[in-house]
Structure formats: structure tokens, C-alpha cells
């Protein structure tokens, strides 16, 4: 029997490199140090860009649960991002709530929205979810643009930046560190879910729905859980996004936004956390590097996505420990 041990892992190929706890701890320490000193080295402009990249890490990790783990194509992820941002905007501006009270409200609304959209569609063929989420994304964007409460096309502004135990989170550097913490939490939660009963159920359902059902797994419930967890990630990202910018408008929640987040998930390698993080950085940093290309840059991304799908569907990030099984 050829010995090809395969340990499916949310970490992708990393598990073979970082095979001892010591190596792993060193790696984590290095990454943490890099995160702390990066803004001090690169200056304010880079800090803003990095903050944006970290926001995308959060969003992409959320979408990764839906797409990468449960295998569902969600084309309207920006809708949940919008739900989070607008809830915080409206709750703080119109109802005078403090950010930390608005945040759970945002999560609550995202869960409700996720259940309303997910429950009917997840019973159907997976293709339907893709297109219904596309429609849902448009509904939310259009609602934001047409409603008075959401400030119409110009959106909301003057959202106050939050206080935390006497610390006024207000400068770009403050927000950079806040997003660092969020990204770390997003990673930890993703890893823990991946290695749980529910995380395995996502993979079972994704690989073979019938076999999963035969093993007593309620595929609708399990998919709904993935969809709702993704929604919560999106809403939290949106809430902090609103607090960071202080102003939001419907343009931030367009179809292109959903596509960009999806690209982050797929380019790096869906289902693999380092891959998704890499993807988020590519999606945010590449436009900075390709600035001269103007509109061509989206085209380059699109072609890149197509090539990835045709020639390397598992993404850029290597999946050493799982090769052979993937086509």
C-alpha cells in the first residue's frame, strides 16, 4: 500500500512545514510582530491600505465558510456587509445608540436576513443560491439607495468612531490595530469551526449531499448554518467599516464588491485559511501596484480568475497535504 497520508486541513500546505508546536509558535510570533510594526515602517498611506486588506481578510474568511467549506456560491455577500454598516450607521445616528450596542444589533439583523434568504433557497439545487444571492445583493443595494432612513444615494455620514474603555478609536493607526484584532479573531473562529462537528458536516455536504443525508446530516440546516455564519462575518466587517470611515454609501455594497470578496476567496485557494488571507491581500494590494492600468485592472483580475478555475482550481496557495485528491 503506497503511503500517502492525507490530513485534510484548513491550513493547507502549512501543516507539513510547521509540523512541530515550536515551529508553529515561532511562526505566530513572527507574524504578530510583523503586524505590530508594519504601520510604523511603511507610513500612514500604507497603514490605510493594510487596514483595508485586513477588512478583506475578515470578509473573505466569512465568505470562505460559505464557499470554501460548505461549497455554496454566494454572489451577494456585500449585502451582509451592507446590513452591518447600515445598522451601525442608523442605530448610532438616528437612535443615538453606542457602537458597542449597535454591533450586536447588526449581527442580529444579518442572522435574520441570512435565514430569510437561505431557508427557501438552500432546499433547491445549489445553482439557485448563486442567483438568488445575486438578486438579494441587488435588493439590499437598491433599498439602501431608495430609502430615506439609509440616506439615499449619498448615504450616511458623521458616524462617530467608537470608544473602548476610555480609548477613543479614531486615528488610522487605531483602526489598523482594531482590524488586526478582528482578523485574528476571524482566523481563530474559522479554524475552530473547521475542526468541529459542524465544520466537518460542511465538508461532507459539499462532497456528497446524498451520502451526508444518509449519515443523518440535515443538509439544509448545515448549509444554513454556514450561510448565517458567513453573514455574521460580513456584518461585523461592515460595522467596523462604517465606524472606520464615518460615512457609507450604496456604492460600497455593489455587485463588484461581492465579486471582489469572492475573488479573494478563490484566487488564494478556497477552504484554506492562508490561501484566503493571501487572496485578500492580492485583491487589495494588486490595484495599488496596477494603478496605471485603470479599468484594465478589473479585466486582469477576471482573466486571472478564469485561468485559475481552468488550470488550478485549488487556488494559488499550495495544498501539499491534499494533492492527489484534487483534480
Amino acid at each position: 500500500m503506497p503511503d500517502t497520508p492525507i490530513r485534510p486541513s484548513a491550513w493547507g500546505g502549512l501543516t507539513t512545514i510547521l509540523d512541530t508546536p515550536l515551529k508553529r509558535q515561532v511562526a505566530i510570533a513572527v507574524i504578530l510582530m510583523a503586524m505590530i510594526v508594519a504601520p510604523l515602517l511603511f507610513g500612514q498611506y500604507a497603514t490605510v491600505i493594510l487596514t483595508n486588506a485586513l477588512l478583506y481578510v475578515v470578509l473573505a474568511l466569512g465568505l470562505n465558510i460559505v464557499v470554501g467549506y460548505a461549497g455554496l456560491l454566494d454572489l451577494g455577500f456585500a449585502a451582509f456587509f451592507a446590513v452591518g454598516a447600515y445598522t451601525v450607521g442608523i442605530a448610532t445616528l438616528n437612535f443615538g445608540l453606542n457602537f458597542w450596542l449597535a454591533l450586536p444589533l447588526a449581527v442580529f439583523f444579518a442572522i435574520i436576513a441570512g435565514i430569510i434568504i437561505g431557508t427557501p433557497t438552500l432546499r433547491l439545487r445549489s445553482d439557485y443560491l448563486a442567483i438568488v444571492t445575486l438578486g438579494f445583493g441587488e435588493i439590499v443595494r437598491l433599498a439602501a439607495r431608495n430609502l430615506r432612513e439609509t440616506g439615499g444615494a449619498s448615504g450616511l455620514s458623521g458616524i462617530e468612531s467608537p470608544w473602548l474603555f476610555g480609548w477613543h478609536i479614531s486615528t488610522p493607526l487605531d483602526f489598523y490595530y482594531v482590524f488586526c484584532v478582528l482578523a485574528i479573531i476571524a482566523v481563530v473562529v474559522s479554524v475552530r469551526l473547521a475542526n468541529s462537528r459542524l465544520g466537518r458536516a460542511w465538508l461532507y455536504v459539499r462532497h456528497d449531499e446524498d451520502a451526508a443525508e444518509a449519515m443523518g446530516i440535515d443538509r439544509v440546516k448545515v448549509k444554513l448554518a454556514a450561510y448565517v455564519v458567513g453573514a455574521v462575518y460580513g456584518a461585523i466587517g461592515g460595522a467596523f467599516f462604517a465606524a472606520n470611515l464615518g460615512a457609507i454609501s450604496p456604492n460600497s455594497f455593489s455587485f463588484q464588491q461581492s465579486v471582489l470578496i469572492l475573488m479573494a476567496v478563490i484566487l488564494g485557494g478556497m477552504g484554506k485559511i492562508p490561501g484566503v488571507i493571501l487572496g485578500a491581500f492580492i485583491v487589495i494590494l494588486a490595484p495599488e501596484l496596477l494603478r496605471d492600468f485603470g479599468d484594465l485592472r478589473l479585466f486582469i483580475f477576471a482573466v486571472g480568475l478564469l485561468l485559475i478555475m481552468l488550470f488550478r482550481p485549488s487556488g494559488i496557495w499550495p495544498a501539499k497535504s491534499r494533492t492527489g485528491a484534487r483534480r
Binding site: L73, I117, S126, V132, F136, F299, L306
Partner: protein, 304 residues
């Protein structure tokens, strides 16, 4: 205007809109029927069809004029050109994927859609492009109701195309092969049907119809935009679902119903034109909840 006037005016608008939706929905449904693939790029092929018609018309209009005749000739060429593009896309992007997990195929289709969209964005720099047709403003008055010749021609051409398709699918050998493949691909192969050719033909026809709709839309509304396929793709899908995805008469019916729903829906109190799209997507979600097989679709027991 009285109630009757508003009603009949919206009826005309709904039928015009509905014929666009139906033409695009047909391609969606045909491709889905035969390869069980949701071709996300379908709406963008409609957009490319519009631009192809525009290019051809701008070459030909010195000779055949920018009127309906010129548009019709350009439309035929655009159908052929974009139909071939559809086949190429199927061969290059979808064919290698047909045995891959469904998620991969869906993402590939999305990628194709984005390539077309952003390719056109790059070429047109995101600007609206005037179509360059000159169609005239004549029409007939029925009481206070005005129906333009353009609307009549547009609906007439759509009906002719759909009738042609229906005859092709139900009467010809090729159409029968198409239906056989949509029921059981492996069985069809055993019976000696060249399945790949049938799939290619389906893409050609479906994409061609979308291109026809794109050209007509360009001529009728007067301008083109790289993003014009996005919404209509969604709407056409909605139409296909209303009619029962996979069913050709269903797509026609669904298109008409959605067109009418939209034009009447915007007259409802509280549903202004800015809520039109929200209205149609809500219809989509409601149909999926209460009648996912659509009006003319057949429920199927999935094979284990």
C-alpha cells in the same frame, strides 16, 4: 389619464419588456436543459450582442441605412458572430469542467461573465455608447393609447424568432436530439447522438437569441453599456424560473409574465420605478419558495 389608459399603456410596455426577457430567458433555459449549467455569462453575451450589432451596423449603415432594415441585417450577423462566441466559450471554458464539482463550474461561468463585462468596460472606458440607429417615431393611436411602430416591429421580430425556435426544436431531427440529450445524456450517446454537437448547437442558438435581443435593445433604447447584461441576465433567469427552468414555452411565458408584472407592479402604490428591480427579485424569491418548478416545469426525482 384614466384607469383604462394607464392599464393599456402598461400592457404594451409590459409586452415589449417581456419579449426582451423572453428572448434572453430562452437561452438560459435551453443551456440549462441540455447541460444543467447556469450560464452566468448569458446576460453578458446579450451585452456583447448589442455591441456586435452596433459595430456591424456602423459598417453597413452607409449601404443599407440605419433604419429597421439595417438593424435587422446587423442583428442577423450579430446573432451568428455572438453565437459562435458562445460555442467557443462552451468549448474552452465549460466543456473541460462538466465533470468537475458544480461549484467549480458555477465559478467558471461567473469568471467568463466577468471577463466579458470588464473586457467591454476596458474597451468603452465605462461610457454609454450611442447605437447609431435611426428608427423614426411613428406609430398608431388607439384612442389615447399610442403604440409605436418600433414596439410593434420589436415584438413581431421576437415572436418570429421564438416561433422559429419552437418549430426547430419540435419538428427537426436536431431539435429532437436536443430534447433527448436534455433528458438523458448517456442514453443519447448510446443511441448514436453526437452529444457534443448538440451542446454546441444549443449554445449557438441560445447565445444567438441573446444577441438578437441585445441588438434590438440597443436600437430601441438608443445606447449600449458594458453593464447592461447584468440586470437583464438576472431578470431573464427570473423569467426562466417563473416558467419552469428547462422548459422552452415556460421561458416565453415567464418572460411575458415578468414583463407585465414589472410594468404593472411599478403602478402599485409604494412601488415606484426605483423599486422595480426589487419588485422582480422579490418575485423570484417568492416563486422559488412556493413553486420552485415554475409554471410549466416538471418536478424531477433526482437519480441517486
Amino acid at each position: 389619464m384614466g384607469f383604462i389608459d394607464i392599464f393599456s399603456q402598461q400592457l404594451v410596455n409590459g409586452i415589449v419588456l417581456g419579449s426582451f426577457y423572453a428572448l434572453v430567458a430562452l437561452g438560459y433555459t435551453m443551456v440549462f436543459g441540455v447541460v444543467k449549467l447556469l450560464n452566468f455569462a448569458h446576460g453578458d453575451l446579450y451585452m456583447v450582442g448589442g455591441f456586435a450589432g452596433f459595430l456591424i451596423l456602423s459598417f453597413l449603415s452607409p449601404f443599407i441605412g440605419p433604419g429597421w432594415f439595417g438593424v435587422a441585417v446587423s442583428m442577423v450577423f450579430a446573432m451568428i458572430a455572438v453565437g459562435i462566441l458562445g460555442v467557443v466559450i462552451e468549448r474552452v471554458a465549460y466543456a473541460p469542467m462538466l465533470s468537475a464539482p458544480r461549484l467549480s463550474i458555477l465559478i467558471t461561468a461567473l469568471a467568463v461573465s466577468l471577463v466579458l463585462q470588464n473586457g467591454m468596460l476596458t474597451i468603452t472606458k465605462g461610457q454609454y455608447v450611442p447605437f447609431g440607429s435611426a428608427l423614426g417615431f411613428g406609430g398608431v393611436n388607439l384612442g389615447s393609447l399610442f403604440i409605436s411602430y418600433n414596439q410593434m416591429i420589436l415584438v413581431g421580430v421576437s415572436i418570429a424568432l421564438m416561433a422559429g425556435l419552437e418549430i426547430f426544436v419540435s419538428r427537426t431531427q436536431y431539435g429532437r436530439a436536443m430534447r433527448a440529450v436534455s433528458v438523458d445524456k448517456d442514453m443519447s450517446r448510446l443511441l448514436g447522438i453526437n452529444v457534443n454537437r448538440v451542446i454546441a448547437g444549443t449554445f449557438f442558438l441560445g447565445t444567438g437569441l441573446a444577441a438578437a435581443a441585445g441588438t434590438m435593445a440597443g436600437a430601441y433604447y438608443g445606447s449600449l453599456w458594458y453593464f447592461m447584461g447584468f440586470l437583464i441576465g438576472l431578470k431573464a433567469f427570473t423569467a426562466a424560473v417563473i416558467g419552469g427552468i428547462g422548459s422552452i414555452p415556460g421561458a416565453m411565458l415567464g418572460g411575458l409574465i415578468l414583463g407585465l408584472l414589472e410594468s404593472f407592479g411599478t403602478q402599485l402604490p409604494g412601488v415606484g420605478s426605483e423599486w422595480k428591480d426589487v419588485f422582480s427579485f422579490s418575485v423570484l424569491i417568492l416563486v422559488l419558495v412556493f413553486k420552485p418548478t415554475g409554471l410549466l416545469g416538471k418536478p424531477e426525482q433526482e437519480r441517486m
